[in-house]
């Protein structure tokens, strides 16, 4: 390690002064630091995960035996609706893109922040506001009850006279704004803020995965917003988008919803693929096998995923000649996923795997994903799909995918990056134990659902009669749920204890290849004292480049300490283009976030004039936001 000369220390001091956040609560409320925003997302999504998990436990307790009375039918409907909405929109998406994406992407590309730091903070406030908005609906007796996919006519005024579906429609639009902002930010950050020298053939596969998810969100969310706008208008303003007697169509809801909904499920798992491809090289100490194919497979699976939406509608009576387009695309969408599975497996087999806790979660993820993916392929056969549609077979499939292929890597990622965020090592043996408990629990919870689905148990039913042959399977599933919950509690307990009692980790306990491990743990506010030299896709393994960085710090090259400075590179080849001044702490994201929340609050209670006034306040907030330019602050 190069010795830091006196001038270098001065440079680091200057950087610290330029980039430090304001102190105290005000600092957190006005921050634009991507790391702080990532941490805010992390804790908020964990709370919502707990709520969604509680909803799951209530359902499994209700279904543990036939004719149970823990939840009545109306309550059960609200619980499974909120469970689905919460887990998808308020846990997985914000945890992956908001927490992992925000914290790690700038570090991995050698940047000091995201491309639009204030917009980043705005996306957090909008996300938080949308979560509070949805649960205020529940608290006020207007919990949505039409399932997470809200099919009309069930969610129209005729069948849902409460404001439940209004909270549903508006909450999803509200939440969609946050995700659209985050996805735009991730794309532009990865295109423009990469360290000079990081061309597309040197971008970490983690970043390719998040790029794919961001593009997916950007193009999928508008379809959901359009659907929710129609739903709100039909329910409150007498329009007829979904009224067949007046020229509307209930299939319109389904087409638009699934045009969003299918890319959404790839958006859920692709960041997790990115986490897996970050962890595997670190714990096998080899480059990922077939890097070009893995990189393009991330993008391809989301792209083809935009063409398969009607495979969720094989039972609605569409003509065969229309259905074949979706069956063909669905059959082929498995290929990019298979490319990645082969790459992960070959990397494990040909590397020197150390099955520490993060890699155990990735191994478990591969098992769960292959399991769920194979059953997903079965749905390509339209006649088979028509038999198992709306049964527990479907629930088993998507929970193997979502829990296995999204949540397992999230847990693995928490352990993997725990040393980076906290500067401490976690306790290994408890970590491995909780993996096995969760693995056993989730398989016990979800595997019997395949069988009970094939035996005819429909989904979204609040109870069932005895004598259907479903009792033992449901009891086993509920036992699996409790075991999984125990494992998750142990997981977090281990992390909490490790935070207080863990050994110091140092900057790079894993000898990992990506740039976040080239800086201290936790990283300083400015991330890197020297913008890193990059000449491969595994920059932290390039010892020469890291030594060069230390010399550059002494010479003041690429330190960029004359302001709140960030280098910008060309999109494709990462050639150094310009140095820009980044915005610093600002109250405007919070102000605008509050105004947006007030707009939605007024809309849901039907006060459109007041909503208009708050809309004007939003415009004034934007005006105030852009009053001072970044170089002026």
């Amino acid at each position: 390690m190069a010795t830091i000369e006196f001038p270098a220390e001065q440079r680091v001091d200057r950087l610290e002064r330029q980039w430090q956040s304001k102190p105290g609560v005000l600092g957190w409320l006005t921050t634009t630091d991507h790391k702080r925003i990532g941490i805010l997302y992390f804790w908020t999504t964990l709370v919502l995960f707990g709520i969604g998990g509680t909803e799951a436990m209530l359902m499994r307790t209700q279904l543990i035996e036939p004719n149970n009375h823990v939840l009545g039918p109306a309550s059960y409907d609200r619980v499974f609706t909120l469970h689905g909405i919460t887990m998808i929109f308020f846990f997985i998406i914000p945890m992956t893109t908001g927490a992992f994406g925000n914290y790690l992407v700038p570090l991995m590309i050698g940047a000091r922040d995201m491309a639009f730091p204030r917009m980043n903070m705005l996306s957090y406030w909008v996300f938080l506001g949308s979560g509070i908005f949805l649960y205020l609906g529940l608290a006020s007796g207007n919990g949505p009850n039409g399932a997470w996919f809200g099919f009309t006519p069930l969610t129209l005024r005729l069948f849902d006279p409460s404001r439940g579906a209004d909270f549903y429609a508006l909450a999803l639009i509200f939440n969609g704004i946050a995700s659209s902002l985050t996805s735009s930010n991730l794309i532009v950050t990865m295109f423009k803020l990469r360290a000079p020298g990081m061309s597309f053939n040197r971008l970490p596969t983690f970043c390719y995965a998040f790029l794919a998810a961001a593009f997916g969100l950007l193009f999928a969310l508008p379809a959901l917003s359009a659907d929710c706008i129609y739903l709100f208008l039909d329910r409150n303003h007498g329009t007829h988008f979904f009224d067949p007697s007046k020229g509307g169509s209930n299939l319109l809801w389904q087409h638009l919803f699934w045009f969003f909904g299918h890319p959404e499920v790839y958006i859920l798992i692709v960041p997790a693929f990115g986490i897996a491809t970050a962890i595997i090289p670190a714990f096998t100490q080899r480059k990922i096998v077939a890097y070009p194919l893995v990189a393009i497979a991330e993008l391809l699976v989301v792209f083809i995923g935009f063409g398969v939406w009607a495979h969720h509608m094989f039972v609605v009576g569409m003509p065969t000649i229309s259905v074949v387009f979706f069956a063909a695309a669905t059959a082929m969408v498995v290929i990019p996923s298979a490319i990645q599975v082969f790459s992960w497996c070959m990397s494990l087999i040909t590397g020197m795997p150390r099955f520490r806790t993060p890699l155990l979660f990735i191994a478990g993820f591969i098992w769960m994903f292959v399991n769920g993916g194979l059953t997903g392929i079965m749905f390509v056969a339209v006649p088979f799909d028509q038999q198992v549609h709306d049964t527990y077979f479907v629930i088993a499939h998507f929970h193997y995918i979502i829990f296995g292929a999204a949540v397992f890597p999230i847990f693995g990622g928490m352990y993997y990056w725990f040393p980076k965020l906290t500067g401490k090592l976690y306790f290994e043996r408890p970590g491995q134990i909780c993996f096995w408990v969760i693995f056993a629990g989730t398989n016990l919870l979800f595997f019997p659902m395949y069988i009970v689905g094939l035996l005819g148990m429909p989904r979204q039913i609040y109870t069932y009669s005895s004598g259907m042959g479903w009792d033992a399977y449901n009891a086993a599933e509920s036992a699996g749920a409790y075991l999984t919950a125990l494992g998750i509690v142990l997981l977090f307990a281990n992390l909490v204890v490790s935070y207080f009692k863990g050994e110091p980790a140092g900057p790079d306990p894993w000898n990992a290849p990506t740039l976040e491990w080239a800086t201290s743990s936790p990283p300083p506010d400015f991330n890197f004292a020297v913008i890193p030299t990059v000449s491969s896709a595994y920059p932290n393994w390039d010892a020469e480049d890291r030594e060069r960085d230390a010399r550059k710090l002494a010479d003041g090259v690429m330190v960029l300490e004359e302001g709140h400075e960030q280098p910008v590179s060309t999109t494709v080849d990462g050639r150094f283009a310009e140095v820009i001044e980044m915005p610093h702490s600002s109250p405007w994201p919070l102000v605008l976030g509050v105004c947006i929340a007030l707009v939605f609050g007024a809309l849901v209670i039907g006060h459109y004039g007041i909503a208009g006034i708050f809309g004007v306040l939003c415009l004034l907030s934007l005006f105030g936001w852009h009053w001072k330019e970044p170089q002026e602050s």
Binding site: A329, M332, G574
Partner: protein, 122 residues
């Protein structure tokens, strides 16, 4: 090198866009033929599907050819080399793979929608 770079982008983007066009227009035409509007418009589904299949197929083949050209012109380096050569290698390898996948999808649904043009429920 500039021409090779253009080949690389053609190789990467033309096939996905061709599939996307064939997919959107193809299933919309199929739905239109089986809808009320067909009594006015008299949609010739088979003609459209043949046209879309041939058009998309040719575009995808051209895209694949461009990707192969870009790959072979930069073959002296591998994808870990410095840009632009390394980057072109990476993108052309990726494109050569993805174009085949798109070709298969287009063939599958194009042939199926030509062979079976009945407006019956699936």
């Amino acid at each position: 090198m500039r021409r090779v770079a253009v080949m690389q982008w053609i190789g990467l983007f033309v096939a996905p866009l061709a599939w996307w066009g064939q997919h959107l227009v193809g299933q919309a035409i199929a739905q239109a033929q089986c809808s009320v509007a067909d009594t006015t418009w008299h949609v010739s589904n088979r003609a459209w599907q043949i046209g879309l299949l041939v058009g998309a197929g040719l575009l995808i083949l051209a895209s694949e050819a461009a990707a192969v050209v870009a790959y072979r012109r930069t073959d002296e380096e591998d994808y870990e080399s410095p840009p632009p050569v390394g980057r072109i290698q990476l993108i052309s390898v990726a494109a050569m793979t993805t174009n085949l996948i798109f070709l298969v999808i287009v063939l599958l649904d194009g042939i199926a929608s030509i062979v079976d043009t009945q407006c019956r429920q699936s």
